[in-house]
């Protein structure tokens, strides 16, 4: 059973979208990927953005992650209007406040799991000893404590995505955004990964992931369905 609940009533708002529109040119055509979305996501929420291909869900995720700016409207993350951030500020904002998990994992193939997790910590200026300890702690958290020195090619798809999750959590972000995190995994591995996302949620992480798979989407606490760049439904489950 699902029910719709305004996010704002559930606690502090981490994400607020106000009439967000995003259009871009593709050849001669003007593509209107996002067409006026209003949305709030509260701290600690576990939300899935779903919808058919081309409905604008990845574009919306990029806007929420401050790697893209709206054509009009405002996206506020932790109260900051992301469109007002310059490139350096936006990059620093992403580093400290947002964790990304991608469908294709995007681990650095020549670095070990440990070094991949250390990357954002090094960018944040953490010293070598502290970042090694933090990376080891995170890899232990995602169940890869014994695979720290393995390179991505020596890990299964599920393990690689766990490393990517550990990397996303490195700087204790307020928000973790995942783009089709189970898209490249088989069903059983995807299921274990969703359990890990559930664990993250229970530990207080705010999670938003994009998926076109409604079964996967229903594992989230809240499902935001997009159609033609607009929110067509926004429903909540009782728990994740």
């Amino acid at each position: 059973m699902t029910h719709s609940t305004p996010a704002g009533s559930r606690g502090e708002v981490v994400i607020r979208c106000e009439q967000v529109q995003r259009s871009y040119r593709m050849g001669d055509a003007l593509v209107q990927a996002v067409r006026g979305i209003d949305l709030e996501i509260a701290r600690g929420e576990f939300a899935a953005i779903t919808g058919p291909s081309g409905c604008g869900k990845s574009t919306l995720l990029h806007l929420l992650g401050a790697i893209d700016a709206p054509s009009s409207g405002r996206v506020l993350v932790n109260g900051r209007d992301t469109a007002q951030l310059g490139d350096t500020e936006a990059t620093d904002f992403r580093l400290r406040h947002i964790g990304f998990v991608f469908q294709r994992f995007y681990l650095m193939p020549t670095l070990s799991a440990q070094e991949n997790v250390e990357l954002p910590l090094a960018e944040a200026g953490m010293d070598r000893r502290a970042r090694r300890a933090r990376a080891a702690e995170l890899l232990g958290y995602v169940g890869l404590g014994d695979r720290r020195d393995h390179r991505p090619t020596q890990l299964s798809g599920g393990e690689q995505q766990r490393v990517a999750i550990a990397r996303a959590l490195a700087n204790r972000p307020a928000l973790v955004l995942a783009d089709e995190p189970t898209g490249e995994l088989d069903a059983a591995t995807g299921e274990r990964l969703l359990e890990l996302f559930g664990q993250l949620h229970r530990d207080g992480t705010t999670l938003v992931f994009v998926t076109h798979d409604t079964v996967v989407a229903n594992r989230a606490q809240r499902v935001i369905r997009l159609l033609d760049g607009r929110v067509s439904s926004d429903t909540r489950h009782g728990s994740a």
């Binding site: 990845s58 990029h62 992650g65 790697i67 893209d68 490139d87 350096t88 990059t91 620093d92 992403r94 580093l95 400290r96 964790g99 990304f100 991608f102 469908q103 294709r104 995007y106 650095m108 193939p109 020549t110 670095l111 070094e115 250390e118 990357l119 954002p120 090094a122 960018e123 944040a124 990397r167 996303a168 700087n171």
Partner: protein
């Protein structure tokens, strides 16, 4: 190693074959550049050190000639040498007379001979046996064999050893098979002659005795005199040269610097060739690094976009790609230094075997300053070659690259 360096190094390790080939290419370019620099500066410096071996900065030869450029000699040599020695600005004067002497009864018909004063001579260094007696030594009887210092080529070709005697003669009439004058000489010492090709047999005799042997026409002649200015700076040497030119109208005085300039003019095409080849090798190094790093960046657009997405600043991406170019160039140049030295040594050995070259002449001379400057230039060039791809990498549009990579 910093995380940025680790990542740069790891990126290069990703395609080991490609990286090794690029490093080899840069190493070859660096070796070529180094060799060209060594060649361009080597001949000049080698010639300079050859001329200054014994500190003589001035050569005095018959008017209008270069030293040993012709068979012309200067008459009245004693007066000229005495005048030069009387000048307080001149530390030493070494007169020399060159002539060809016949060697009846030996394996070769004649030998180039130098009449020298052993206490001031600057033509050879004694490597074995006894040197020629100083001109002040007049104890030897007129009938005693003349002392002679010869080079290794002479000993090898004649089959003689130090202590052996042979007859030398002048005034040879080939048709009548007669000689005007002959003396027995004893080989007292072996020397390494600076200005005579190593393969050419040469014999040094006391100047006074060679003049006597050549006959009355040569009694007061010399082919060349070398003079050493008391002060070694260019201005002082030039002042002495001008003084000689003014006071000795029958001679031409040439300074080492002028001689080097003249040699440089004669060898300018060689230097131009070296410059062109050096510039080409610099260009090759630049293009190699630029191509490889651009290729690497294009292959990693998605990865770089992700780095930017997870919080790597543009400057961080720029530094990392820049570092890749630097690592490639640095490794290639280190290999190139070694390769360049080995090939220079090898080529020098081949070129030095050319007939007619002074024994002490080098084509490739290691000049640390010139070598480091050229390699530094290549390092800067190689590193700069990484700048454009680094800038392109840093400017990758994150969203578009992620989308393209996902589609690709």
């Amino acid at each position: 190693m910093s995380m940025r360096a680790t990542l740069a190094f790891a990126t290069l390790r990703r395609n080991p074959a490609r990286t090794v080939l690029a490093v080899l290419g840069i190493a070859v370019a660096a070796a070529l550049l180094l060799d060209m620099v060594m060649l361009a500066t080597g001949m000049r410096e080698s010639f300079r050190s050859l001329l200054l071996t014994r500190g003589y900065q001035l050569r005095v030869s018959p008017k209008g000639t270069l030293p040993f450029d012709s068979e012309a000699t200067i008459d009245g040599a004693t007066a000229i040498v005495t005048a030069l020695r009387a000048n307080p600005d001149i530390r030493a004067v070494s007169p020399g007379l060159g002539a060809t002497l016949a060697l009846p009864g030996t394996r070769f018909p004649s030998v180039f001979s130098l009449g020298l004063e052993s206490d001031v001579q600057g033509d050879y260094v004694l490597e074995g046996g006894r040197d020629l007696p100083p001109p002040s030594d007049t104890t030897a009887s007129a009938a005693a064999p003349l002392p002679a210092v010869v080079n290794r080529a002479f000993l090898l070709r004649s089959g003689l050893q130090l202590g052996d005697t042979l007859t030398v003669a002048s005034g040879v009439d080939a048709q009548l098979r007669t000689t005007a004058r002959a003396r027995v000489v004893v080989l007292t010492g072996e020397g390494r002659f600076f200005y005579v090709p190593a393969e050419t047999p040469v014999m040094a005799l006391p100047l006074r005795d060679l003049r006597t042997l050549l006959g009355s026409a040569y009694r007061d002649r010399m082919s060349v005199a070398m003079a050493e200015s008391r002060r070694g700076d260019s201005a002082s040497v030039e002042a002495v040269r001008r003084w000689i030119a003014q006071t000795q109208p029958r001679v031409t005085a040439i300074s080492t610097e002028t001689a080097i300039r003249q040699v440089e003019e004669r060898l300018s095409y060689f230097r131009q060739l070296a410059f062109v080849l050096g510039a080409i090798s610099l260009g090759i190094g630049f293009l190699l690094v630029a191509t490889l790093v651009t290729l690497s960046v294009n292959e990693r657009r998605g990865e770089i976009a992700v780095l930017r997405a997870i919080g790597t600043q543009k400057g961080g991406v720029l530094r990392q790609v820049f570092l890749e170019g630097f690592m490639l160039s640095g490794t290639g140049i280190a290999g190139g230094l070694l390769l360049g030295l080995v090939t220079a040594r090898w080529l020098n050995g081949i070129l030095r075997d050319f007939p007619g070259l002074p024994a002490a002449f080098d084509f490739f001379l290691w000049s640390p300053e010139a070598a480091w400057k050229s390699l530094l230039l290549l390092l800067v060039s190689g590193t700069l070659a990484g700048l454009l791809p680094a800038w392109r990498a840093a400017s990758i549009p994150i969203v578009r690259s992620l989308r393209e990579d996902a589609v690709g």
